[in-house]
Symmetry: C2
Subunit: 157 residues, 2 copies
């Protein structure tokens, strides 16, 4: 007994669901970024792509998609919109015509200066300290690791 899969009645209460709290938190935090990112002309997913490119560019679509833990099929149209906005360039790599070299335009590179204020602004807006942020960050990383570990945790076969 005391098997973890024993479902008690209120296990199904919406208010007790971690998955629910997590999705609401995610949407709420992204929503809190919106007014700040609007001034940069970026959506939140676009902001993450720009962070990715400010760290290193040019990069391939696959490289970006792995860094952001998303499918290339998700990144592809997102890049087209960033190109249309004038922040990035998309060119085939000479010598390997399959691969795309995603780089920054001068405008895209310049945007980094304005973006440096974003993390601080958001910490301020959310009323979080650096420690709280890093603690929450660590919790999220643990949770991500748990989803990768598969059934019954990392100890299984």
């Amino acid at each position: 007994m005391a098997d973890v899969t024993d479902g008690t009645q209120d296990d199904l209460l919406l208010e007790h669901q971690l998955c629910f709290a997590l999705t609401v938190a995610s949407r709420s935090v992204v929503g809190a970024y919106k007014p700040v990112l609007d001034r940069l002309g970026l959506t939140h997913p676009q902001y993450l792509v720009m962070l990715c490119l400010w760290e290193s560019s040019p990069r391939s679509v696959r490289d970006i998609s792995e860094a952001l833990a998303q499918e290339p099929a998700t990144i592809s149209p997102l890049l087209r919109r960033l190109e249309a906005a004038g922040f990035i360039t998309r060119q085939r790599v000479p010598g390997d015509e399959r691969t795309l070299a995603v780089g920054l335009t001068p405008q895209g590179a310049a945007l980094r200066q304005q973006a440096t204020a974003v993390p601080g602004t958001m910490m301020d807006r959310l009323g979080l300290t650096r420690e709280q942020v890093s603690q929450l960050h660590a919790s999220m990383m643990d949770l991500i690791a748990a989803t990768k570990a598969g059934p019954n945790g990392p100890a299984r076969r």
Copy 2:
């Protein structure tokens, strides 16, 4: 000095972003539910609606949308799909023809039995204890509260 809005260089590192970890965690956890919910014929958002209705029904669209912290415009097409799947009914309330009464079909009510196992199964799959789940849940609720508090925390007008 030590103003929280001082942006240091590596504040822009993707790996340090709470918002990034949060969105990845959310997508990863929802993804982990997928094989489990597939057997019930539900997507994750649809599962949340059903939790909502198992707690109390019939309910209006606005009621559901507030319980799930989502826009009525998001819920509306979702309900149409749940109706098409045979889990719920949608009828106008007699006496107030604006309001929709969203209720359960026998099939939708019966689905609850199968769903009772879901929370336990997921805890097992993620290798989380009840305590870990409730701690993470509390962290998420705090974060949600922080996004509602507005700039500079709850103390600000």
